[in-house]
Amino acid sequence: MPQNRWLSWLSPLLLVVLWEGAVQLGILNRIFIPPPSEVVVALIKGLADGSLLADVVISSERIALGFLIGAIPATVLGIWSGLNRTVYLLVRPLATMLYPVPKIALLPLVIVVLGIGEVSKIATVALSVFLMVVIHTIGGVMQVDQRYFEVGRLYGANQRTLFRTVALPASLPAIIEGWKLAMGFALTLIVGVEFVGASNGIGYRIWQSYELYAIADMMAAVCLIAALGWVITLGLDEVERLLVPWRHTVKESRMPLLKKWWGAVRPWSYTAAIVPVLLGAAIAAQQGGLNWLWLVLALIGSIAIQGGTNLMNDYYDYKKGTDTPAVKGTGGALLRGEMTPQQIFWAGILAFALGSAIGLYLVSVTGPFILWLGLCSVAVGYFYTAGPFALAYVGLGEVAVFIFMGPVMVLGSYYLQQPVIAWPAIWAALPVSFVVAAILHANNLRDIDTDILNHKRTLATMLGRSGARIEYYVLVGGAFVSVLLLVALGLAPWPTLISFAMAPLAWRLMRTAATEEAAEKLHPVLRGSALLHMRFGMLYVIGWVIALWI
């Protein structure tokens, strides 16, 4: 019930308000206990100068590595011992013996053996994760109801099939439970490890702030690690929902969170947001090193803007009542009552806010050129469907997309890394321009009949069906031809030719576009074009990356 959900936010909110009030009124000493507002300022400062984020990244890396190194062999070994008596007798006693030892107590020993470096930190986490996961996995496999094995055997399953269809799925819930607990351990442990023997990471940050008596900084770091824990928990819950779908379908009749929002924000459309940013960075990297933080921020920003656009489109479509229940995406989710319009709207605003904040930050560190690019993009985005001269409705949609989701984005991402306006980056963006325009055009080609009825003037309706088909060939073919030309002219390195691996996909799409007329038959061409953009674009980027080494 939504009311209850709001209620559950009330007590933390109240706590924050009381805390702030108590400090402002002087009841609490702000030297020892800074108010939430100061913590927020410290948090923003730390995030803005990148140092706090860098610490989170380092700690996350340690956790992730330690978790994978511990959990993967532990899961395999655990399943094996659950099924095989001999292995069980070998593994179980050792695991139960070591299990209760507080792993942090072993850190000095680990340091003696492995040194004080990165390895010992990861090893401590991995060891703890390993033990936790082994024990839970063994338990999980052994508690499987034996009758299921009987049923399997009765219905003709051999040993291998039994493993795949009974042992594994039946023990999976317990195994994942083990992963979750182990992850909680890893999080606690990494902070402890970083307190003692580290010169970076979030635990180190907390400890150092304490020693400097920078309590606000310390709390900001604590907030961040709490957020990290929260994100990890959510992530593992999602993993569980994906791997163990049969357990959740009744308990929570709602769709898995991720799946719901997945449909809402349409990540497959992000290929248009991601590929140009990666391409710009890859081209810039040919000239020298990369600023990874800025690249990541640019990616997040670009994705956020794209996501916000998708969400807002759905919101307004819903308001205007143009969507039907068949419509995929949030429009559909809204109509099916899985999400409220308010949720969509605010998620959209949040995404835009995030995108703009990142954009402004990048402007502040790299100069006004990015700002101009951004403002132009916003203007085009606005005039795309709004205003008296809506680009999309006078047949200029493809042109706008061609320019802005190709050269402009690539140049922007390039400029972040190498602050010059480089023509080679613009030329190199052309293949991506062609495919992204092809996506839009596939949409218009599909809707050509209804658009003609509604007097919507797209390039497709202006050209007519056969002309529109030729346009699709030109756009898809243009992508490949432009790669060839760029390589021939020395404007792109020869490894980018691996993008031709997508020629068969392109060929299939063109054939479908050539033969089909019905909208539902042409819909796969739209999805396929987006797929082509992603695969072709990524291969093209990978070509540029390979060129860094040869």
Binding site: T161, A170, W246
Partner: protein, 255 residues
């Protein structure tokens, strides 16, 4: 196609913990016949089915079942795989035998239609009602076109109305000839009379055969069948046989 009947000869079964579940069972079940087994709780009915299924071996005497006969069982507690969709559960026995996936899917669809489950083909078992779950269990058993189908009190946990529907379903399936040789264990005497032509009555533990009845009932709709004097006569006969055994079992339970 298996032609040999199922033959028990002075068969007995004692579990490793010393419980003697079956004693001196001599019984021949003809191919493609429909036999019901009734008896008090804990008398060894499930054990009897498990020996036919090959999940348990008789410890004395012999049991012969054609070695190549495919066997399927519908379990007392369903025992559907909770992690598989209805479709995957139904086609499980086909999948294990290497039937291509597309064909499995197709067979599952056919059986789901037949069982009135078409709308639930992608659901998980826990999303179904008890009656639907048992229908999936029956579909899983019959999808492999078994030579022998063993039903172990499949409807015991269902409400009375659903139960009537399910009995009709089993009778229909039988009439369509998809059940092969059928052995149907039940607590309910009327159910036994409806689904089978021949009824075996077992004693309290260790289970022995105390009566073997073949009531001659005409092949009429179930509702009419229940109203026949012959039906009631057979019911009374069987009850008379079984009553003392149930009482015995009850007293044993008290003691």
């Amino acid at each position: 196609m298996q032609a040999a009947p199922i033959v028990f000869a002075q068969a007995g079964l004692t579990y490793p913990n010393g419980v003697e579940a079956l004693a001196d069972i001599s019984l021949t079940i003809a191919t493609r016949s429909a036999v019901a087994v009734v008896g008090p709780s804990g008398c060894g009915k499930t054990t009897l089915l498990r020996t036919i299924a090959g999940l348990e071996r008789v410890s004395t005497g012999t049991l012969s079942v054609a070695a190549d006969a495919t066997r399927a069982m519908v379990f007392q507690s369903g025992l559907l795989f909770p992690w598989m969709s209805v479709a995957d559960n139904i086609s499980y026995g086909l999948m294990t035998r290497g039937v291509p996936l597309a064909q499995c899917r197709e067979r599952a669809r056919v059986w789901a239609d037949r069982m009135g489950l078409q709308r639930f083909i992608d659901a998980y078992p826990h999303q179904l009602s008890g009656g639907m779950q048992q229908r999936v269990g029956i579909a899983r058993a019959l999808a492999i076109q078994p030579d022998i189908v063993l039903f172990d009190e499949p409807f015991a946990a269902l409400d009375a109305q659903t139960r009537l529907l399910m009995q009709e379903l089993v009778c229909d399936l039988q009439r369509q000839g998809v059940c092969g040789t059928m052995v149907f264990v039940t607590h309910a005497i009327d159910e036994a009379l409806i689904v089978a032509d021949r009824i075996i009555v077992m004693s309290a533990r260790p289970g022995r055969i105390i009566a073997d009845i073949t009531p001659q009932l005409p092949d009429v709709p179930i509702a009419e069948k229940r109203a026949l004097p012959a039906f009631n006569q057979a019911f009374a006969d069987i009850w008379a046989q079984i009553r003392s055994e149930v009482e015995l079992q009850m007293h044993e339970g008290v003691r």
